[in-house]
Symmetry: C2
Subunit: 458 residues, 2 copies
């Protein structure tokens, strides 16, 4: 029985007052997002119809290294932040590894995930501008839940397009959003042109994040005083999530250690960037020797097996063109239970970092992710979200390497959320009903070959 | 937008080091539990076959006002304690009440409820004594989840009898327990005499907490090196839960207030006693003017409509006879969604306090409980457990009274847990599929008339 300190808690007055904008420290800046018609770099005012102005400005901000967190957002952060940094003694012991494993526990937020960090900020900026209605999409439901909470907190009406397969398989997620007062629509739906088209072409289509984004954008554009909000991929979303890493930096200092390796699961990049960018800045500025690893699902491997191209962020092609590692915007990933990782592309910052060798990526099979999740639950007492299980599996690989090398490495990963509303996935795993998914090179090639833009990316 | 302090956080070194034993301060002690054969007061060693020795001693302890929390238990408490005390500004505003409303947020534990406070203690004492296997029952699943976590944390094998209707309606709860490594059996089952009997007599019986307790006790008695653990009702369970109120006492002082009214939902009494007993001691000792209110479901109203008699704690009659307000040990409460409140009796301490007019009780209808829960979710951002909704509904009644009287009262209630694994209940409520339950005096009388013991209770 240990009496070592396990949790590192940051006092309320130590909660960061600014977010960190990594773009300012990157030698090679991310390529600009392009207007799909003119193929010219988007101007900030061209983003205003879709996004709140402050968010659009943050999206294109390449000059301010730190951006103030509005007082009203900080007040709401304080309801669940700072989140604990935890030394995973139980997991270390079970793995019999010399590695020191830490995790940042974002599951303690009232909606159970890190998503609230950006949801509150986005709701605030919309409200501040006088917006009354917002639309968004959700895959697994974590983002939709967080946005529902934030919309209610700032008095906004929210419509959420939820990927149909999740809508049907995860009724609890839907109920939480409805309990917070949001309108939830299964996507594809008949309420938008994009939805109607895909339903007509493929009547039994179970939906994708790309389609749900198209529907949410379309509804926002047709609704008075309405903006669209997104839960990942974009720069301003990751910006808000840097509070995770900024807190973790202080907490690692409390623990008297500095991470050699930082790991986050990877869907669009917001929790990954959130935990890693504040540490990465010491690599960019001081050449600090750290490894940053994105853990993506083997069934949706844009970073490990995708191509770097300009592509749309959504299935219907409503968004600007984004420079991303992508599997193609109409790639239909297998229905793995980590719904939050089923997205075809990586955000432009992460994509540039990957090109520059400043980070790595690893792909994790579904069965390995749940095996890791169960070990974590039994040793650390928290049932992780299926998405977070990917980060845990990658952590276990690195802990095993440390053991083989006989080196005491310090690993930090982000526990992006808990899995208490995703237990159907664990049920299926425990009943031996889950499988891995093999994705052939042929399928990937067929998808990315369809990318027609062929815009210069060098 | 408020900038007032909302959360009151206790530093780790302020977490109480002792539990509070209210029996020592009661003028009229609770009547003793009786051996069902001899009808004599149970001796502590007569409890040893069923319970770990330290727990049996705590159960009958009438002399030690404070009992040390073992260091190993405190270490595990620190993973989620101290829990926040929260000023419910949002709820106050929605109710337009002059009352100041505070809640203790026990939902932040990794299993989502207060139940872990006693589960960890019970697992520890079992382990310390060399016990290898434990059995228990669970109704809604909160206790079973907590005990599964605690059993794994202390390296014990656990079998959980789960009331069949919950087993089928709440598969997620079952999955969480299985994820933590427990064996979960639907009750009534064919694995015990008590289960077989009731299945033979009533093949379609959906189970009750009373039956599940009988099964768990029977299995414990037949298994080598095995003890039984219980999640509520008994004195030692409530003792462990007093950490809630002891923390809240310090946190209310941080807020610069003292509660006029303290409210907890009521099943067997553990969360209710946990929040209220430490405050009640100032009423017992210093005659402090506070009101303590138990919020029970209208469908299982032992405190408001039951009788005070000696009765069994389980359906089959395996337990000692307990002096309790009861609806009869084979009372079958309606299948409301607050499964944790579906228990026929109140613990002996609470029953004595009720007899002595030191506390009150109120019954809450199911629809009112969910209406309160939704308002709370939308104003405070936490989806409450269906059980906790009863405490919120009672709080709203008192806040309304304060408004009518034009008095600024301070109300403290315990948010015993979150409802994220109970969303089927909210689903049903939002779909207008729930109803209230009327319980006739006739039914209650028929049940309590069956109590054969007729032992003196004065």
């Amino acid at each position: 029985m240990t009496t070592q300190q396990k949790r590192f808690l940051l006092p309320e007055n130590e909660i960061p007052t600014q977010w960190y904008n990594i773009v300012t420290d990157m030698k090679n800046k991310p390529l600009p997002m392009l207007h799909p018609g003119t193929k010219q770099a988007m101007k900030v005012e061209e983003l205003y119809p879709l996004f709140a102005e402050e968010l659009a400005k943050q999206e294109l901000n390449t000059t301010d290294r730190f951006i103030d967190i509005p007082e009203e957002v900080r007040e709401k952060y304080k309801f669940y932040r700072a989140t604990p940094l935890v030394r995973a003694y139980g997991l270390e012991k079970a793995l019999d590894t010399p590695a020191h494993i830490y995790f940042k526990n974002e599951s303690v937020s009232p909606v159970g995930s890190h998503k609230l960090n950006s949801a509150l900020a986005q709701a605030y900026y919309c409200k501040q501008q006088g917006v009354t209605n917002i639309t968004t999409e959700t895959g697994a439901g974590q983002w939709g839940t967080a946005m529902s909470y934030a919309a209610k907190a700032f008095g906004l009406e929210l419509a959420v397009y939820m990927v149909k397969v999740s809508y049907e398989q995860k009724p609890y997620r839907r109920s939480v959003m409805q309990t917070f007062g949001s309108q939830v629509i299964a996507s594809p739906s008949m309420s938008t042109k994009a939805g109607r088209k895909i339903l007509t072409d493929h009547p039994t289509y179970q939906g994708s994040l790309g389609t749900a984004i198209s529907e949410a954008i379309e509804l926002a554009m047709q609704t008075p005083n309405c903006k669209y909000v997104l839960g990942s991929v974009l720069n301003h979303v990751t910006l808000h999530q840097t509070i995770i890493g900024l807190e973790a930096e202080k907490q690692m200092a409390m623990a008297g250690e500095y991470p050699d390796i930082i790991i986050g699961c990877f869907g669009g990049g917001s929790n990954f960037g959130g935990i890693s960018f504040p540490f990465l800045r010491h690599k960019l500025i001081d050449n600090k020797d750290i490894r940053i690893i994105a853990a993506e699902p083997a069934s949706c491997p844009k970073l490990t097996r995708g191509v770097f191209e300009y592509d749309f962020g959504d299935e219907a092609g409503y968004t600007p063109l984004l420079p991303m590692f992508t599997l193609g915007h109409d790639f239909a990933p297998a229905h793995i239970h980590a719904g939050g990782l089923r997205y075809h592309g990586a955000g432009s910052i992460v994509s540039q970092l990957k090109r520059d060798g400043l980070m790595e990526a690893v792909d994790i099979q579904q069965l390995d992710s749940f095996k890791a999740g169960i070990l974590f639950a039994q040793t650390e007492g928290i049932v992780p979200a299926p998405e977070s299980c990917h980060a845990i599996a990658a952590t276990m690989i690195e802990a095993e390497k440390a053991k083989l090398e006989g080196k005491q490495k310090t690993i930090l990963f982000n526990l992006s959320g808990h899995g208490l509303i995703d237990m159907a996935a664990y049920d299926a795993y425990l009943a031996d009903d889950l499988s891995n998914y093999e994705l052939s090179d042929e399928v990937i090639r067929r998808n990315v070959d369809k990318l027609e833009n062929n815009l210069p990316t060098t």
